[in-house]
């Protein structure tokens, strides 16, 4: 065993390898513990990993989330059901519309009015959800490509994402935190000219995707960093609770939109892409294919959506006094509607005592809300089953045995969204 002085010399690099004696080369390499994050460009800002490394290879890791914990569940217990929508925006802030829809569907299921939602409202929800799914995947793929050095792909995809955000801003009034969906429908109808804007935007996005795919799909550097990295088997994916693109890349044929159809998804045609190896490259390819499928769904919805009307299926809000605000003209002209409006805003929607677990296909997979209601206007308990949290719990196992540099594509493709993971 070499003494301290020799080790020091080794570390300081004063000797060449060929000058070392046999004893010195037999020095067992010490494991080193290093800290990655929470402030690290590839950790998406909010995750800390304590790595135990043998040289560049990861032996053990402890992933620590929680730096973005904002007490979603505690806050939700003190807010009315409608006031929870802004909080859900801030869960997965890359696809807030899907969170909105998930929470609205949870409340509707607890009230037993799921089948009464007007079809136009359902179509609007699916349209904004799929637009959100596109922004989610664009961000995930673009950011991962950037972390691997492909900055152009990032800029192209963020440009495309911005077009969608602009349309969603016209629809909802806010660029990122939409709070657009309500219990019983959506807060307002689609604006004039929405159809033409969306058609133009989808055409442009398809062009951008052709460009970015040409840059990435057969790019040797990109493929070398992605292929065979972070693979997970089908059995492991199921046992560790993986859902969404990560599970599908591993060959698990599970998509909430197909397996437990909700809203108007049975009325549109789309395919669920599956991978075979479950590595980062497959996750990337699955996401790219899902982008195309979302565009396909959007085009069908544009054709099938019922025209707006004030009655029947063309409404954007259910005609149920329990969860819809009275029309503004009534609110300002009759005392009964004024009182109803006041009670609605101050006391909240009354949901009968009971509990429900409702789930939708979010950008990262099954996004569920578990609601326990006690008959008042506020949730007794609101729990969110966030896919990012479950996916991040597998990260420790996935990165084991890989190089430190591999953490970057693995984390990019897990697509951990801090707000959703840390609640």
């Amino acid at each position: 065993m070499a003494d301290v002085q020799t080790l020091k010399q080794l570390v300081l690099g004063r000797k060449d390898v060929q000058d070392l004696t046999d004893v010195e080369t037999e020095v067992p390499p010490d494991l080193m513990t290093i800290n990655m994050g929470p402030s690290h460009p590839a950790m998406h800002g909010t995750v800390r990993i304590v790595l135990t490394v043998d040289g560049e290879r990861i032996v053990k890791s402890d992933v620590q989330p929680g730096y973005l914990h904002r007490c979603f569940e505690k806050e939700a217990e003190y807010a009315t059901y409608t006031q929870v929508f802004p909080y859900t925006d801030r869960l997965n802030y890359v696809s807030p519309m899907i969170n909105n829809c998930g929470w609205a569907m949870t409340c509707e299921k607890a009230m037993g009015i799921t089948s009464l939602i007007p079809r136009r409202a359902e179509y609007i929800r699916v349209i904004v959800s799929e637009m959100s799914r596109i922004t989610d995947h664009l961000t995930c793929v673009g950011a991962s490509a950037m972390e691997l050095g492909a900055f152009t792909a990032f800029l192209y995809f963020l440009k495309a994402r911005e077009w969608l955000y602009e349309i969603l801003e016209i629809v909802s009034g806010a660029r990122l935190t939409h709070s657009y969906v309500r219990v019983g429908g959506v807060s307002k109808d689609l604006p004039e000219g929405f159809d033409a804007q969306l058609t133009h935007c989808l055409d442009q996005i398809e062009k951008v995707m052709v460009e970015v795919e040409a840059m990435l799909n057969s790019n040797k550097i990109f493929r070398d960093r992605m292929a065979g990295v972070g693979a997970i088997s089908r059995e492991d994916a199921i046992a560790t609770g993986c859902v969404g693109p990560i599970a599908r890349a591993a060959g698990v044929d599970y998509d909430v939109r197909k397996d437990y159809p909700y809203s108007i998804y049975p009325e549109v045609e789309f395919d669920v892409p599956l991978g075979t190896t479950g590595d980062c490259l497959d996750r990337y390819l699955v996401r790219i294919e899902e982008l195309k499928q979302s565009i396909r769904i959007l085009r069908q919805c544009q054709k099938q959506i019922p025209p707006a009307s004030s009655t029947g299926e063309g409404r954007f809000m259910i005609d149920d006094a329990r969860c819809a605000l009275p029309p503004k003209t009534d609110t300002y002209n009759t005392i009964e509607s004024m009182i109803r409006h006041f009670k609605h805003v101050m006391d909240g929607i009354k949901i009968p005592a009971g509990e429900t677990y409702t789930f939708v296909e979010g950008g990262n997979g099954e996004l569920g809300f578990y609601l326990v209601a006690d008959g008042t206007g506020r949730p007794y308990k609101a729990y969110v089953r966030s896919p990012s949290f479950v996916h991040l719990s597998t990260a420790s196992k996935i990165i084991q045995g890989h190089l430190i540099a591999d953490i970057v594509p693995i984390f990019g493709m897990i697509n951990m969204i801090g707000g959703e993971c840390d609640k």
């Binding site: 929680g66 914990h69 007490c71 560790t240 005592a353 509990e355 677990y357 006690d374 308990k381 719990s393």
Partner: protein
């Protein structure tokens, strides 16, 4: 759909299943605490069940449970167990969904851990421990996950005030933490 799951479960474990119910279409089975692991193992491995996919773990604190328009008998009282731990499972092959519930009393907040059967429950049980203080027996690494080690109390319990602050860095402009102030070290 999955009513047959509840029936099969009751037939297989008449002792372990205290009762079953269906609320808003969700199947729920109440399991006695000591039999949870046996029941879950059977659910996971039986070829007619195959509940191989874990969904979530959480707990409910019934301290303030006074449901409106319901008989008084349903309200929470001192003699009822305060916590319910929920395990939601899913069967990939048959598309069943099932929620297992375990009653946990306040003075003895223990629950068997299912993390050996379902690796995904590792972090979720840590989260439940972090938020509700339920001790999962047999969990390999039961630490806080969202909050820091020095945190006192369990924030999602109903008796934890929403306004309470416990900054790691001392801030004199914030109210004093009553739990910490009564501790032995001060």
């Amino acid at each position: 759909m999955a009513k047959l799951v509840l029936d099969a479960l009751t037939a297989k474990f008449p002792q372990a299943v205290s009762h079953t119910e269906t609320i808003n279409g969700d199947e729920i089975a109440w399991i006695k605490r000591d039999d949870l692991h046996t029941v879950a193992h059977w659910l996971k491995t039986d070829p007619k069940m195959l509940f191989d996919a874990p969904v979530f773990v959480t707990a409910i604190d019934r301290l303030d449970w006074k449901p409106q328009h319901r008989p008084l008998a349903e309200h929470w009282t001192e003699d009822k167990p305060r916590f319910e731990v929920c395990f939601q499972l899913r069967s990939v092959k048959y598309r069943y969904r099932l929620r297992l519930k375990v009653s946990v009393p306040e003075h003895d907040p223990r629950c068997p851990s299912l993390s050996s059967l379902y690796p995904a429950f590792d972090w979720q049980e840590r989260e439940t421990f972090d938020m509700y203080g339920i001790r999962f027996e047999g969990h390999p690494d039961l630490r806080r996950i969202y909050l820091y080690e020095e945190f006192v109390g369990y924030p999602l319990r109903k008796d934890y005030p929403k306004e309470k602050r416990q900054p790691l860095v001392r801030r004199d402009d914030l109210p004093i933490n009553p739990i910490k102030a009564t501790g032995e070290d001060r």
